[in-house]
């Protein structure tokens, strides 16, 4: 049987995590069909049809899916799911929002945030902030799964030529409405898929001081992240939080500046290839995961680093 993957997008552009999710589906095996549900999202379906290894694109273009409200989207996905062995979505805030609703409508458990595929019914996933990895097996007739993007190398965005099949919308459930959105605008790479991430913590002391990190990031083509403490204190917006309950990143290079390295933070970045820690406290737990640690005052080190690059 085929596997249904739900595409991540904003009606204009396909989200990068879709490619990692398709990669997970291909490891499970079977034809991969991609659902693009949105409003005015034909361009996304065109992009989806080009993804390597996608056999078919289902396009549900309807006002009810404009903001992917789960009350409207979940019944559509649950209806389609009955013809598939697996339903996969990226473990983004959007995927985490609608997919459990789909699972409950299908009366099956969901497996959250898989890191690897061990077999068509067996997967690994982190528990306890990544301090343990569970191998779980599902006997559900339809396996409903969110995929941690950092666990799977993305498939190529080009090379496929899938047919696009239009689906009728199922209307609005009438219990929820979109009101507004405040989206961060940034010319820097997206945090979840950037090759280099520079994160700041409470040690930065205030929002203005993050300018130092932005300058460094622009020099390196990096994204900027933060610890929960920096977000809670209002230094930076919530979408910069890296960790157990924020974004998961695994760049080639992660530079932690003024971050102590609480387990909840490590859960979001410890799969990075190379980790650099800059901290004035040589006992800070972040040094236990750092490949290169530099003990000292970040207010001296960061400007110096920027000069030397």
């Amino acid at each position: 049987m085929a596997i249904l993957v739900i595409a991540e997008h904003n009606n204009a552009v396909l989200g990068a995590a879709t490619l990692n999710t398709v990669a997970a589906a291909k490891q499970i095996g079977g034809d991969v069909h991609l659902l693009v549900a949105g409003a005015g999202c034909a361009a996304v379906a065109d992009a989806a049809a080009k993804i390597e290894g996608v056999a078919k694109v289902l396009l549900a273009d309807d006002a009810a899916y404009a903001h992917q409200l789960p009350e409207n989207l979940a019944p559509l996905v649950a209806g389609l799911a009955k013809g598939y062995s697996h339903v996969l979505a990226p473990a983004t805030t959007n995927g985490k929002n609608y997919l459990p609703r789909v699972a409950a409508l299908l009366d099956v458990d969901q497996i959250s945030d898989i890191l690897s595929v061990e077999g068509a019914d067996t997967f690994t996933r982190p528990i306890y902030a990544g301090n343990a990895i569970a191998t779980v097996q599902s006997s559900a007739p339809i396996k409903v799964i969110t995929v941690r993007a950092t666990g799977f190398d993305p498939v190529a965005a080009e090379g496929g030529a899938a047919a696009i099949e239009a689906l009728a919308g199922q209307g609005d459930a009438g219990v929820s409405a979109f009101v507004s959105e405040e989206l961060a605008k940034s010319d820097r790479p997206e945090l979840s898929s950037a090759k280099i991430v520079i994160s700041g913590g409470r040690g930065l002391l205030n929002g203005e001081n993050f300018q130092m990190l932005y300058k460094l990031a622009d020099k390196l083509g990096a994204a900027v992240g933060a610890s929960r403490a920096a977000v809670d204190a209002g230094f930076v917006p919530n979408d910069l939080q890296v960790g157990q309950t924020g974004k998961i990143v695994a760049p080639d290079l992660y530079i932690a500046v003024g971050i102590s390295g609480a387990i909840q933070h490590l859960a979001g970045m410890s799969s990075s290839k190379v980790i650099v820690a800059i901290n004035k406290d040589e006992e800070a737990p972040i040094f236990q995961v750092a490949d290169y640690g530099l003990v000292g005052d970040l207010f001296e080190i960061v400007p110096e680093l920027e000069r030397q690059l």
Binding site: P70, D109, S112, I127, Y128, A129, V136, Q137, G174, S192
Partner: protein, 249 residues
């Protein structure tokens, strides 16, 4: 209106758990247990709604072993009026929990149900969304702001790109994110008063809910440790290592 809050007893967030030598799970013997931090935020939000005169009664519910009464008493000390323990000794999947909560919702008929976004043991992030599916209610997940007015609740949600606000008909389901509020501590007089507040115990059987699961844990392992790194003594050395050894810049 009546508000129902679901809380879970979990290992305290400060504890670094260890995997059992036989890989059957994590070792929870003699480990400090607490209310899930996101559930503390849920209780706090309900209490604030009551202080504003929006909520009239707060019912707190947990599904767990007898020991989970501790977390119910904590919620009562923080301001909940009444507690329900759905007694069950084994860890349940989120779908089973959502089904049990649905049975409680059917009985209690709350206008708002507040849950945490995620339990920090299973890291599932599912239960609120599943309860919303089973009840057919709207869901405002990962909430950083909750405003009740005119038979609706406006929920501002923390999403990957920033913030999103949705309006939900009541009754509705809300799950909390970290920035919703800062939970208070229970005062000693309130802890004493909480001992006298009603706490009812029921069983999954009595609620008529099947709690079977389609997921089996085969093994639990410690993640691969990172190999120890080095300390560099200067910015120049760091730049050299990143360019010539790690080759990442």
């Amino acid at each position: 209106m009546k508000v129902l809050v679901a809380v879970k007893r979990v290992v305290d967030y400060n504890v670094k758990v260890r995997v059992k030598p036989d890989n059957s799970g994590v070792d929870l013997a003699n480990v400090k247990m607490s209310m899930n931090p996101f559930c503390e935020i849920a209780v706090e939000e309900a209490v604030r709604l009551k202080e504003k005169g929006v909520a009239s009664e707060i019912v707190v519910v947990t599904i767990g072993a007898t020991a989970a009464q501790e977390q119910l008493r904590t919620a009562l000390a923080l301001g909940a009026d009444r507690a329900i323990l759905v007694e069950h000794n084994d860890e349940l999947g989120s779908l089973a929990v959502a089904k049990l909560l649905k049975a409680v919702v059917d009985k209690e008929q709350p206008q708002l149900v507040i849950l945490g976004k995620q339990a920090i043991d299973s890291d599932n992030n599912q239960t609120g969304q599943m309860l919303a599916a089973l009840t057919g209610y709207g869901q405002g997940t990962f909430a950083s702001k909750v405003e009740v007015a005119d038979g609706k609740v406006n929920v501002t949600r923390e999403i990957d790109g920033g913030l999103q606000t949705v309006a939900l008909n009541l009754p509705a389901i809300v799950t909390t994110d970290l920035r919703l509020n800062e939970p208070r501590y229970a005062s000693l007089p309130n802890i004493m008063k909480a001992k006298k507040k009603p706490l009812e115990t029921v069983t999954p059987d009595a609620l008529g809910v099947s709690i079977t699961s389609t997921v089996k844990t085969l093994k639990v392992e410690t993640p691969a440790a990172r190999k120890a790194g080095i300390k560099v003594s200067s910015v120049a050395e760091l730049v050299d290592k990143l360019k010539n050894e790690a080759k990442v810049i």
